[in-house]
């Protein structure tokens, strides 16, 4: 099959042909000759969404750094390209060497978001790979999953031969070693999977058999073939040992995150009770300031980006963020490269930090108070007061910003109508200064998303608001959030519902995902989010979607993700849930000492050993 010829014929006809040409600066030019393990990484969404993903960039560079392996990439083509591929019988092929995906040894798919699950099915179909791991045999590609979705992979677990839970830096080496050994010794698929199941962080879904009770609940997920009852996530404890990609690929296309990425630290222990990332990536692991400075310089040399983003879950929490930001700004100014911080705390201090790094004030600032009322902010452990927010925005105004975006959620556990109205009241209040004077020219964009309970959080037991309830709250806000300088934005309620279903679902959801995929749902891409098709597929579910989404789960109910051990213990999460209901704050262990979540192997002692940093901050 000649993929070059195919592309030559169709590229002028499709949207954004640069999605398919490869050849980007720093992309791999390794050829298969003499190389042992051939791996292809897939992001199950469009190029411009997937290409920015830092995790895949890290793994791509690590695999290509090995002498005995190569890595290539593939993204999901847009529908115009999919149609042409199907019409000509062209299977999905890699960007680098233009080889059929199915002919690689390993396909690594990242699960970044629940709404890409239909795309995973589509990707396998386009590649001509059997959907179910059980249907693949000797000589077939090994389909491996990873990313945050792997912390509850059950809805799509049967699509994967293997899933890797947690940080990929070490795990990818183990995986490549294992496949190299299997190839060299001619080990069968089953032996390979049994060996994999013995490695930390490796989950082999086919080795676990679910049983369901009469009430529809999962009764058990029994391990077989010597697989462990629980799979402990991989966690790279010393990030300085695992360098950031020195030469990340520079896409031709404008991507969703069109700048160089400097991951300052991993994890966040602020302890917001709704936040899955905060729990599953614990503990906090900082990169050293010296390393970050030298990486930043190297990144600019290797990519030519005009902006470096200091990316982390809550970058302003880096223990030496002010000195780091100032140093980078000065060092990079000569090359006309600016730095940016994606997330700010609702604090004046954070605004100063943004002012330090950003000369152009036009781009706007974003704050996330999350909830409108103090009561609810206390419940979710968002330790920020109304006064903090007012001061922060006042300071941003003084510093020249006129466009400010606020993130809120509706549907948080325990929310009353009064809390929703508080979003409107607070937003209007923020148009005025500390002393109550109007702030002329200030534009507030109020973005309100719907809360989705996620596995491994304090709210994993909670019922999600029904679509009708959410729509009512959105209507309330659109009535109340009117005003000259206020813009109100909200998220689609069906998309949140679906996200909630897939987030806490089990293996019984797979047929619905497959059906939605076959019906052409290209989710996550709002233009084509196809709720009617989904509804058709969901109607056939037994138990129905309400069993998963709008039902409060029992304290001791078996969860489909119980076998995935993210470090944070279930008992700790339950305690957090109860403390939240009582409006009690839980302090960040970096500043107030270990609260015993379980994520550090040595618990509090680890934090005292310096993993959770307190030095250098006021």
């Amino acid at each position: 099959m000649d993929f070059d010829e195919f592309l030559d014929d169709v590229l002028v006809e499709v949207e954004r042909p640069a999605r398919y040409i490869g050849g980007e600066v720093n992309s791999s030019r390794k050829t298969a000759g003499g190389v042992g393990v051939r791996m292809v990484f897939a992001y199950p969404d469009l190029y411009e969404i997937g290409a920015s993903n830092l995790g895949l960039q890290i793994l791509y560079e690590l695999v290509n750094a090995r002498d005995d392996a190569l890595a290539e990439r593939v993204y999901l083509p847009w529908v115009d390209m999919q149609e042409r591929m199907r019409a000509r019988g062209i299977p999905l092929f890699s960007l680098e060497s233009r080889q059929a995906v199915a002919r690689f040894d390993i396909l690594g798919i990242t699960l970044q978001h629940e709404l890409t699950y239909t795309n995973v099915v589509r990707l396998l179909d386009l590649a001509g790979i059997e959907r179910r791991a059980a249907a693949r045999g000797e000589g077939d590609i090994l389909v491996v999953g990873g990313g945050p979705g792997a912390f509850n992979p059950e809805p799509v677990a049967e699509l994967f031969d293997l899933l890797v839970i947690g940080d990929g830096e070490e795990a990818i080496q183990d995986l490549v070693d294992l496949v190299a050994r299997a190839k060299a010794r001619g080990l069968g698929r089953r032996v390979l999977l049994e060996e994999a199941a013995g490695l930390e962080g490796f989950y082999v879904p086919s080795f676990y058999a679910p049983a369901y009770g009469d009430d529809g609940q999962l009764a058990s997920l029994e391990p077989r073939h010597g697989a462990p009852a629980r799979i402990r996530k991989r966690s790279a404890s010393d990030l300085d040992r695992w360098p950031l990609p020195a030469r990340p690929i520079v896409p031709f296309l404008e991507t969703v995150h069109d700048r160089a990425n400097l991951e300052v630290f991993r994890g966040c222990t602020r302890g917001c009770r709704f936040c899955q990332a905060g729990y599953i990536y614990r503990p906090v692991r900082e990169r050293s300031e010296e390393m970050l400075k030298s990486w930043a310089a190297e990144l600019v040399r290797a990519t030519g980006y005009g902006e470096i983003s200091l990316s982390s879950l809550s970058t302003a929490d880096y223990s030496r963020i002010h000195t780091l930001a100032a140093c980078l700004r000065d060092a990079l100014a000569a090359r006309q490269v600016s730095i940016s911080l994606p997330s700010l705390r609702c604090e004046a201090d954070s605004v100063e930090l943004a002012a330090l790094t950003r000369k152009a004030r036009r781009s706007g600032l974003t704050f996330a108070p999350e909830a409108g009322s103090q009561r609810l902010r206390d419940c979710v452990n968002k330790g920020v007061s109304e006064q903090d927010i007012i001061t922060a925005i006042g300071r941003a105004y003084e510093r020249g910003w006129r466009r400010i975006k606020l993130y809120f959620m509706i549907g948080l556990p325990g929310e009353h109508e009064g809390d929703v109205l508080e979003i409107a009241r607070l937003s209007k209040r923020l148009l005025r200064s500390d002393t109550g004077k109007p702030l002329p020219g200030l534009q507030l964009v109020v973005s309100v998303s719907s809360f989705v309970p996620k596995p491994h959080t304090a709210y994993q037991w909670c019922a999600q608001d029904r679509m009708g309830t959410l729509a009512g709250k959105q209507q309330l806000l659109s009535r109340e959030l009117r005003g000259k300088n206020l813009t109100f934005r909200w998220h689609s309620a069906p998309a949140s519902y679906l996200e909630g279903l897939l987030a806490r679902g089990d293996r019984r959801l797979l047929p619905a995902i497959e059906e939605a995929s076959a019906a052409g749902c290209f989710d996550n891409w709002s233009e084509s989010f196809d709720w009617p098709h989904w509804q058709g597929a969901l109607n056939k579910l037994n138990p129905g979607p309400e069993f998963y989404v709008d039902r409060a789960r029992g304290r001791d109910e078996v969860f489909p993700w119980d076998h995935i051990n993210c470090g944070v213990e279930r008992a700790y999460l339950w305690e957090e849930y109860e403390r939240g209901a009582a409006g009690l704050a839980t302090a960040d262990c970096r500043f107030a000492g270990c609260t015993g979540c379980g994520a550090c192997p040595g618990g509090a002692s680890m934090s005292r050993a310096g993993l959770c940093v307190t030095g250098g901050r006021a």
């Binding site: 002028v12 040409i21 490869g22 050849g23 600066v25 031709f252 090359r335």
Partner: protein, 212 residues
Amino acid sequence: MQRILLRFALRGDLKYLSHLEMSRAMVRAMRRAGLPLALSQGFNPHPRLSFWHALPVGVEAQEDLAEVWLREPVVPADAVAKLNAVMPAGLEVLEAVEVGEDEPKLTQRFTHALYIIRVAHAGQPRDARGVAEAVRKGFAAEDGEILNVEEDGQTEICLLASHREGGPQLRKLAEKTADCLGIGPESVTIVRTGLYDSRQSALASSSGLKEM
């Protein structure tokens, strides 16, 4: 401040880049090469870089032009070497020349272009004269002058176009050519071979081709 004219080529798969994508690739290469880019004034400063008219997606250029302003003077030949060391495959700087600060814009200095319209024909060779006639009949004056048609395994039509008033719609021209010859548009490709300051210099450069 130094103003530098860059002659460059855009080949292979990079012909599928949009104009914006190509210009971003160029800016990034300049940053990788460490050129001291001058920035524009204003809210959102960006490198001062301008291009000749945008090349349509799918058209290769053996010659395209850009101009960039630098804060500090560089030796043009050094800039070429540094840039080519960091360019993506398919973008190549052919030459750099210092330009006076008061020179008019690129699009005013370069007004004419030569194109080769290539028609792949599976197997059956065509008669050059017949092709020339068919195409000439189908083309309008604003599409440009057909200088030559050659038949050597594939048909090559050499076209001289004026870009004073916007220039020809190259994608449409490819379709038109296909229509004239009764073939599919995927068999027609267009390559720009050069940019010129007048019709005369374009003609001079194409001499060697016999006028038909």
